[in-house]
Structure formats: structure tokens, C-alpha cells
């Protein structure tokens, strides 16, 4: 009888872990679409012309997070969860998620864009693509997360795949502040890796649906209050909102809201290491969407990178039973004194 109950309990937990992996896989599929739609929006007026390499993407990122916040508010209102946002902001785990928002939003994204500006897209994308490995390492250290050797191999293959896809030979002469650019790309990887661990820590006690709404809202506010004034981007933002209806960015914001929601669910349900590595499959999906929606050329290194990511993702999802306990035994030890 007790064994039957244990088996039932294990089956329920296994189904929960599988759902976490499914959310992680969906993250990549929707995030890939988000990137392609946002890319199309940023390639059109008013982001072209006078908008510099730096201001345009940051204004686009701010608007993207603003729309994502709005979509998530609508989602949480429909689910009857709006009061939870207020309750969550009053407790410390909610404030921890605010910190995660700063790490991933303005710090991660600004570092990434400065990396592209000063070191070129090839190095910035390749270096920032290591964020799942950084996040996994931080999760093992700070959250005592259990990651098997096979899952580590999968995470590293996903990272290598993302680097292979993003890399193309740069022209070093074009970048006089190359070292600064590399440092900024490393900052982006640390910001994004740090975000996942800090938010997962907060989500131990609060819901992912609420955490991501707060994350996007705080990120938007930090862009509006700090980043956009600092770069003088309000003019461009006004132009984007008034002169041309920002339907594409609103659409990208919808994709962003969905993909971030799925990502936070997978971080909470399947663990930081697996959630992050599965999110990197967005690179693979972005190739598919780009081939369909734009005139993107499929090259040999894109295919090689996609294969690495695909094999890595398979290694990660291969054995969901490993997810029955996400944390190491000393963290999740059965409470003897209970």
C-alpha cells in the first residue's frame, strides 16, 4: 500500500518534471520567433537612419519589455492572479526577482549591445552565448542544483552550437575599443546567467507567472528611468510610438512575454541548468523562422551549430526522472526533525 502511494507520488512528480522540460523546449521555439520579429522591426523606420547602432536597439528593447509587461498583466488578470503581484512585491522573494530583472534586463542587454558596438557582433554573440554554462555553474554553487554528467554534456553542446551559429570572422581593425567590447559581452553573459539563478532562488517561494511579470515590469522601468535618459533615446521612442504604430514591436513583445513566461516556468520546474540550455534552442528556431520570413542564407556553420544544439537538447531531456529532486541531497534532505 505504501509502495503504491509512493509510486503514484513519483508518477505525479515525473509528470511535473516533464512539463518543465516541455516549457523549456517551447521557450526556444517562441524566443526564436521573438528575435526574428524584433529584428524586422528594428530594421525599419524609425530605427534606421539617424538611430545609431546603440540607441535603436536599446529603445527597441525598452519598448519590447514594456509591451511584454502589458501582455503579461493581461495574462495574469485573465488567470485571476493580479492580487498576487501586489502580495509578491511586499515580500523579500519578490524583491529578489526585481534584482534578477536588473541583472538580465538593463545590465545583460546593455552589456550585449555595448559588446556588439565595441567588439563586433561575432565576438559579442559568441561570448554572450556562454550564459547557460555560467547560469548552470552558479546554480550548482548557490542553489546546490543537481546536474548529471550527461546533462552537463548537453548544456555544453548547446553552448558550443550557439557559438558556432553566432560566429563569423570579425574585422579587428574596425574596433579600437575591442577589449572593452569583450568585457561588455562577458558582462552580458554574467547578467543573463545571474538573472536565472537569482530569479530561480526567488521562485522557490513565488509563482513563475508572477515573477516574470515583475521581471519585465522592473526591466521596463529601469530602461525608462535610467538607460533611455542616459542615452537620450526618448525622441526615438516617441517617434516609434507616435509616427509609426509599433505593431511589430507589440508582436515581438507578445512573443517575448510568452517565451519569458515559459522560460521562468522551466527554470522553476526543470532547474536552471536544463531550463537555460533548452532556451538556447532559440538559435535553432531563429534559423528556421529567418529562412521562412526573411531572405536569410542557410550556411554550413549554421547547420553544424543547429545539429550541436539539437543533440545537446536531446541529452538534456533524455532522462526526466533525474528531475524528481532538482537540488542536491543536503539541500533537499528529508527533514528529520519534522
Amino acid at each position: 500500500m505504501a509502495n503504491d502511494l509512493r509510486r503514484q507520488s513519483e508518477a505525479r512528480r515525473l509528470a511535473y518534471a516533464r512539463r518543465g522540460l516541455a516549457w523549456g523546449s517551447l521557450t526556444g521555439a517562441v524566443w526564436g520567433l521573438d528575435g526574428v520579429v524584433l529584428g524586422i522591426a528594428l530594421a525599419a523606420a524609425p530605427f534606421t537612419g539617424n538611430a545609431s547602432l546603440f540607441i535603436g536597439p536599446l529603445v527597441g528593447a525598452a519598448l519590447h519589455d514594456g509591451f511584454a509587461t502589458l501582455w503579461l498583466l493581461i495574462y495574469n488578470a485573465c488567470a485571476g492572479k493580479l492580487p498576487e503581484i501586489y502580495r509578491t512585491l511586499r515580500v523579500r522573494p519578490g524583491l529578489i526577482v526585481c534584482l534578477a530583472a536588473l541583472a538580465g534586463g538593463p545590465i545583460g542587454m546593455t552589456g550585449y549591445l555595448l559588446g556588439i558596438k565595441h567588439a563586433g557582433a561575432a565576438y559579442a554573440m559568441a561570448i554572450s552565448a556562454i550564459y547557460p554554462a555560467i547560469g548552470s555553474l552558479l546554480a550548482v554553487i548557490f542553489l546546490k542544483e543537481s546536474i548529471s554528467r550527461r546533462a552537463w554534456a548537453g548544456i555544453l553542446l548547446c553552448v558550443c552550437g550557439a557559438i558556432v551559429v553566432g560566429y563569423s570572422p570579425p574585422d579587428a581593425a574596425m574596433y579600437p575599443h575591442f577589449k572593452l567590447g569583450i568585457a561588455m559581452a562577458v558582462l552580458a553573459a554574467l547578467g543573463w546567467g545571474g538573472e536565472s539563478v537569482i530569479s530561480a532562488h526567488g521562485m522557490d517561494l513565488i509563482d513563475p507567472d508572477i515573477a516574470i511579470n515583475i521581471r519585465e515590469g522592473v526591466s521596463f522601468l529601469s530602461y525608462i528611468l535610467i538607460v533611455i535618459p542616459a542615452i537620450g533615446g526618448f525622441g526615438l521612442m516617441r517617434e516609434a510610438l507616435l509616427n509609426k504604430p509599433p505593431l511589430l514591436i507589440a508582436g515581438a513583445g507578445l512573443c517575448g512575454a510568452a517565451s519569458y513566461l515559459f522560460w521562468y516556468k522551466s527554470l522553476n520546474m526543470a532547474g536552471v541548468g536544463r531550463g537555460m540550455a533548452l532556451s538556447v534552442t532559440y538559435v535553432l528556431w531563429a534559423i528556421v523562422y529567418s529562412a521562412i520570413l526573411t531572405s536569410y542564407e542557410i550556411t554550413a556553420h549554421l547547420i553544424a551549430g543547429a545539429i550541436l544544439i539539437f543533440v545537446g537538447a536531446l541529452l538534456i531531456v533524455a532522462k526526466p526522472s533525474e528531475l524528481l529532486s532538482l537540488r542536491a541531497p543536503e539541500q533537499s534532505s528529508e527533514a528529520g526533525d519534522a
Binding site: Q8, G20, V91, L324, S332, A338
Partner: protein, 88 residues
């Protein structure tokens, strides 16, 4: 006292009523969250699974009043530490 987020309240209830079955936890939370549209037996079950996955609670199978085994939840040491850290 202002309401806590539901997941925190589920952990608090497990600590206070340990060992507590899903039904007991739901009944204990219903007077506080009963008017929330999000509140349902499934919502409580999902939060219990989430807390279990990150090792803040675990399951036990004590005998109930009628002598039947029933699954119930107890906090882990990590769960108790985390709760005392975040709720004064």
C-alpha cells in the same frame, strides 16, 4: 496581517500543520484565499509539487484516523530555514 503570495502560504501551512494532506492544506487556506479566482485544489496541488521539486517539503505516508495510509506533506530543514528567513 496582509496576505502572503499563495505559494508562501502553502509552505507556511505545511510547516504549521505538518504532516498535512492536500485536503487539509486546501481547507486551511480556503478562508483566506477562497475569494481568489486563482484558488482551487489544483492550484494548491501545483504549488505543493513546486515546493517538493526544490526540496522545501517532502512527502510522508502516515496512517489516518481510519487506519488507512494517506500521503501527507512535511517541511524539510531547508524549507523551515527558508520560511523563517523570509517571514518574521
Amino acid at each position: 496581517m496582509p496576505k502572503l503570495p499563495l505559494k508562501m502560504s502553502v509552505l507556511k501551512t505545511v510547516i504549521e500543520l505538518s504532516p498535512a494532506t492536500e485536503q487539509v492544506i486546501f481547507a486551511a487556506l480556503e478562508p483566506v484565499y477562497g475569494r481568489d479566482r486563482q484558488f482551487s485544489p489544483r492550484a494548491v496541488e501545483q504549488r505543493l509539487l513546486a515546493l517538493r521539486a526544490v526540496g522545501l517539503i517532502t512527502e510522508t505516508f502516515p496512517t489516518d484516523a481510519s487506519g488507512e495510509l494517506s500521503p501527507a506533506f512535511i517541511p524539510t530543514r531547508a524549507g523551515k530555514i527558508k520560511m523563517s528567513k523570509y517571514i518574521s
